[in-house]
């Protein structure tokens, strides 16, 4: 029997093709994870630098030129630190909590598209690991799971500070997730899709070039909710240093603490990417800028994406250096009494305008 004829050549082609697709996805995962973690490392560095300079200090200066190697020094230190587990902690849950938190925020990286898709040797590569149709909902769902990590950590530590931090975080993240979700409904209505790539494409084709202009109310609500959602100043109730030591991760040390830290910064990266994709036009530039300065078309899309995301990141640092912490009842009042009604009104107006436009243009 001829072995060469046992398998159909078409089938071999299909298998090879499948293998290559898997390989491409694996490469994408490695690249996104590596770049994501590098961004986390230098996000901490630039946070310290920016806040330092805003407070007329220098920030890290000792490790490497201008303290550029500081993130690595911190990482090595955290890695070799003693892993302390409180005697009365619920051990298993204590171990699981940081993993849940970090995984829930890291998984979000897989649905974020970064640029235009390109072709290498008739493989169409879109720079997103999983181009799923419910990308936006997926991110909400994962943010919801992340709360479990925080809350479980607070409970399992068997410490009053951690417990209060966990409770506060659960209340805060849940309240602000509603406001954030509602603020993005306007974007969903305008784009007509939950797929993040489609949302960016819709902005590219829209009159305004980016949804931040027609959806300015939604953008403001989203920005405030995003800061609260990632537990950052001025909404850092769960880790309020002056009240709760460090909040939910008070009892964590060494690498387990680093996992929380990573999760928090990746959540910030996700929020910055979400703002970029949903409101600032992702990797595209508005058509009116391109018609004035046509040479900007030569710049790859990833550059615009990163610049917009960095700008949003800078905003995070900026308000941290500027604003004091809100009181707990104020945080809740802003979330429930202001942001949610405003976001609902925004949905109403957006929906009405959409109906009027579609009836005028005839579907």
């Amino acid at each position: 029997m001829d072995i060469a004829n046992a398998i159909d050549p078409k089938m071999i082609d299909a298998i090879i093709r499948f293998g290559l697709e898997v390989l491409i996805i694996l490469i994408k995962i490695v690249v996104v994870l590596a770049i994501g973690l590098l961004h986390v490392a230098y996000a901490t560095y630039f946070e310290r630098k920016v806040i330092g300079h805003m407070q007329v200090r220098l920030g890290p200066m000792r490790v490497g030129p201008h303290g550029l190697l500081q993130p690595f020094a911190d990482g090595i230190k955290l890695f070799f630190k003693e892993d302390i587990i409180p005697a009365n902690a619920d051990k298993v849950v204590f171990y699981i909590a940081p993993i849940i938190f970090m995984a829930a925020s890291m998984v979000n990286l897989s649905v974020i598209p970064f640029s235009y898709s390109f072709t290498i040797a008739d493989f169409k590569i879109s720079p997103v690991i999983a181009d799923i149709n419910i990308g936006l909902l997926f991110i909400f769902a994962m943010a919801g799971i992340g709360v479990y990590g925080i809350f479980i950590a607070g409970w399992a530590s068997n410490s009053k500070y951690a417990f209060l931090g966990g409770l506060r975080s659960a209340a805060q993240v849940i309240s602000y997730e509603i406001a954030m979700g509602l603020s993005l409904v306007g974007v969903m209505i305008m784009a007509g899709s939950l797929n993040l790539t489609d949302i960016v494409r819709a902005q590219e084709e829209s009159v305004f070039g980016m949804f931040a202009i027609p959806q300015i109310v939604g953008f403001v609500v989203f920005t405030i909710a995003a800061v609260a959602e990632t537990n950052r100043t001025p909404f850092d109730m769960p880790e309020a240093e002056s009240e709760l030591v460090a909040g939910y991760f008070t009892e964590y040390s060494g690498f387990r603490f680093a996992e929380f830290f990573l999760g928090e910064y990746i959540a910030m990266i996700i929020m910055a990417s979400m703002a970029t994709i949903c409101f600032l036009g992702g990797w595209t530039l508005p058509w009116y800028i391109l018609s004035v300065l046509p040479f900007l078309k030569m710049v790859p899309g990833i550059v615009w994406f990163l610049m917009k995301a960095y700008a949003f990141f800078f905003f995070y640092y900026w308000i941290r250096a500027t604003l004091p912490r809100y009181r707990y009842d104020q945080v809740m009042a802003i979330g429930w009494k202001i942001l949610i009604p405003v976001a609902l009104a925004n949905i109403l107006v957006t929906g009405l305008v959409k109906i009027i436009i579609t009836t005028l243009h005839g579907a």
Binding site: H53, M54, V56, R57, L58, M61, W318, L323
Partner: protein, 177 residues
Amino acid sequence: MTVREIIKRFTFIEIFQGMALTLKKMFSHAVTIQYPKERRHIAPGFRGLHALAKNPVTGQTKCVGCGLCAAICPSQCITIKRGNGKVQDYEIEVLRCIYCGFCVEACPYGAIAMTENYEYSEYKRSDLLMNKEKLLANWDKSMPDKKGEEYFKKFWRPMSDDFGTPRDQSSFRGKQQ
């Protein structure tokens, strides 16, 4: 709430004003002094570690052991041991000193000085108990040549300069070493 207040609250004007301030400060010069590399400018007449002034002729201490410094010292950290008409030892417990400078002011002979040296941390308490030898060595280290003389002229003016006894009047000047 007046209309003005409502507008103020919903346009975040005050927050933006604060953010403008922080952004402006970000591009200003940092006030940090990176200590081991850069040092703060030491003002003239700085009151740092003590030293016993040396007589330039004999190379011995100017101190006569009158004990005025020990008497005036608010934290009583100066101990003078006399014997055989000489100052046997002169001890300053630097850890207790409050650097008021009264000892320098009190000394009629300009025998004790405060140098510009402020970096003398040690691991043991006993290392910071200054005796006569150490204090004399401090003078050589921190007040070389003319510097020590100028220090007294500029900032302290020993009482002997102002109220010096006439040469022909009997005094214990002969005991000065």
